[in-house]
Point group: C2
Chain length 363, copies 2
């Protein structure tokens, strides 16, 4: 079976390390010799408490999370956090500023506007079809903004901040779904970070939320229980039954990260992979990258070919050559290769070799 | 490994059929010969669309869901549905009536009261520590109530309705988390049904919601996207990335149900298991059931022994004899055996034999 695994460039859910997949397989019928399978143990049991404690400790180490920040494992993805973060951090009528760098950033803003009409996009690159992330001088944050929200990496458009954006003294709130644990991230510089797990952290169905003391201090009384950060912190992410399986896979994935150099190891690995692919894209005018040079993502690389017919042929031939998930999102068209942590550098080399061969044959 | 699986009487997450566990194992490294693992395929791919379509069709058949009702696969468990159902079905100031038969029913009411101060418990068995579910004559529904909410089975107290409660002409809303697909349920008699999957349907992290045309007609404009039944219906439960793994396991679990006689097969199997255990509990005054005779649950059987010391010894010796999950919830004390669909009748016979032996030795 493992022999037949192809090169998986999916944007998410995405590739996981094979060793993690094999650990999960082994745990399914009989978890830690309890005589019960991974899916069949109580979330209130000692073995599962061990899993969630381990996952928390690993994330804390991998991401260098300050001791006074809390880590939650919730459900509903970043899309629920778009609303939940504003529900917890913003009051009706208050201002909150959003950097709109693509589809997900825009949705985050729209959900916040359901809490306060004064949530506002203070920078929006729609006119350029989101080829850029802003420089610090490209925007100012309003004097009374409760926070500044941004999206660390834009899966669809293939752009990414290469440093923490300036917050002008306000708390920073980040959707880090698609590059968390794969690129530098200064957690201590943020008031809140949330991330769906299905790119770098594990499977879909788990959402990691990193909550600062500031964020906790903002939580109003009387929120719906499941949408209340303070209650979820108090209950250790187990106000109700969490996605026990997903948290286990996340723990195993973070163990793999730690065994491979931790986040620094991932950063080096991802810089190498992105470097290989962008070097090929820059080598020939046959390829046109979507992202502006200063805004390029390491996680999702997006580019066009001279014609749509060639793009279609590229995806089809790549598939025949054992590479999946390369069709670009309809908002950009063309090709997208997602290079999350689990993607091997060897897979990127296979892709680059294929690209060079394709250009020769098509050119 | 499978040889060492014990008798798992957990209240949830709970036992799954071993054949399902083995199918899941096989799908993990290479799903349907795609060369990508079950956790690594896109939710927008044809293989996954096949999974969610299959899961929907199976639930429709197993539960006899009317053609004009919609089936959703959401996240957050029943606890999020406590709020979300009221958010979609109730307006501020409107009346909604709740039958309070235990902890979860009470929490459902409390979340609804965050939408409307006129959500009200019209029957509450707290004085009897929730030994009963009400008869139809034990309550009346208010003239202007938007709906009547009830909890089909009370996991903690071990009580269950043996028929659909009278709704007095109002739409019925049910939390069916802990007995769905295991007992009779007249879906067409309901306006909304929701259920966490981790008892009879599959793993934790998936929530099934069955939405009637009436429920859809109640959804107001402008809800948070992830909490909007109408939007989730429109997007086929894929407004964002769903718990793809959990939906797959649910589909396989429902395939197992269908291969074992469908819901009628499960009802016969569960009647047999509950019959075996209640016969033993009624045989000897050594055991005292918590639930009143007319309110007994087939899914969670709760009882006391003469002393707490004996109860502790019972749980300990049962564990040594290969039976897990028998410690009662602290709200009731004593013993609880959960007999969900996947529990084999043979496991209940082992339990009953152990009980008779325990009584002989202790008596």
């Amino acid at each position: 079976m493992p022999d037949h695994r192809i090169h998986n460039f999916n944007a998410g859910p995405a590739a996981l390390p094979l060793s993690v997949v094999e650990e999960v397989q082994a745990a399914l019928p009989n978890f830690q010799n309890t005589g019960m399978g991974l899916l069949e143990i109580s979330h209130r049991s000692k073995p599962f408490q061990g899993v969630i404690d381990s996952a928390t400790a690993r994330l804390r180490r991998v991401l260098d999370v300050p001791a006074d920040y809390q880590i939650l494992f919730l459900q509903g993805g970043a899309s629920l956090q778009f609303y939940m973060s504003a529900l917890n951090l913003l009051r009706a009528g208050e201002e909150a500023d959003y950097l709109v760098t693509g589809t997900w950033a825009k949705k985050a803003l729209q959900e916040a506007q359901k809490i306060s009409v004064n949530a506002k996009g203070i920078w929006d690159d729609k006119a350029n079809n989101y080829k850029n992330v802003p420089g610090d001088a490209d925007y100012t944050v309003r004097e009374n903004a409760a926070y500044l929200h941004y999206t660390t990496n834009n899966t669809i458009f293939g752009t990414e901040y290469r440093r923490t954006p300036a917050a002008y003294g306000k708390p920073l709130v980040a959707d880090a779904s698609s590059d968390i644990a794969g690129v530098p991230l200064d957690v201590a510089a943020h008031g809140l970070i949330y991330a769906g797990a299905q790119k770098n952290l594990g499977p879909s169905g788990v959402t990691v939320v990193i909550v600062s003391p500031w964020a906790l201090s903002r939580v109003p009384a009387g929120l719906p229980a499941m949408l209340d950060y303070a209650l979820q912190v108090k209950e250790g992410s187990m106000y109700n039954t969490p996605n026990t399986f997903g948290i286990y896979v996340l723990d195993r994935t973070m163990a793999w990260v730690e065994a491979n150099g931790g986040r620094e190891g991932m950063i080096a690995r991802n810089a190498e992979k992105a470097g290989l692919l962008y070097a090929e894209l820059d080598r020939s005018a046959f390829w046109t990258t979507h992202a502006a040079p200063g805004s390029r993502s390491w996680m999702n690389v997006t580019w066009r070919l001279p014609t749509e017919a060639l793009e279609e042929q590229f995806v089809k031939e790549a598939k025949a050559a054992g590479m999946e998930g390369l069709k670009g999102h309809r908002s950009v068209g063309g090709i997208r290769a997602s290079l999350y942590n689990a993607i091997e550098p060897a897979s990127v080399r296979v892709l680059v070799d294929f690209m060079q061969d394709f250009e020769r044959r098509a050119g």
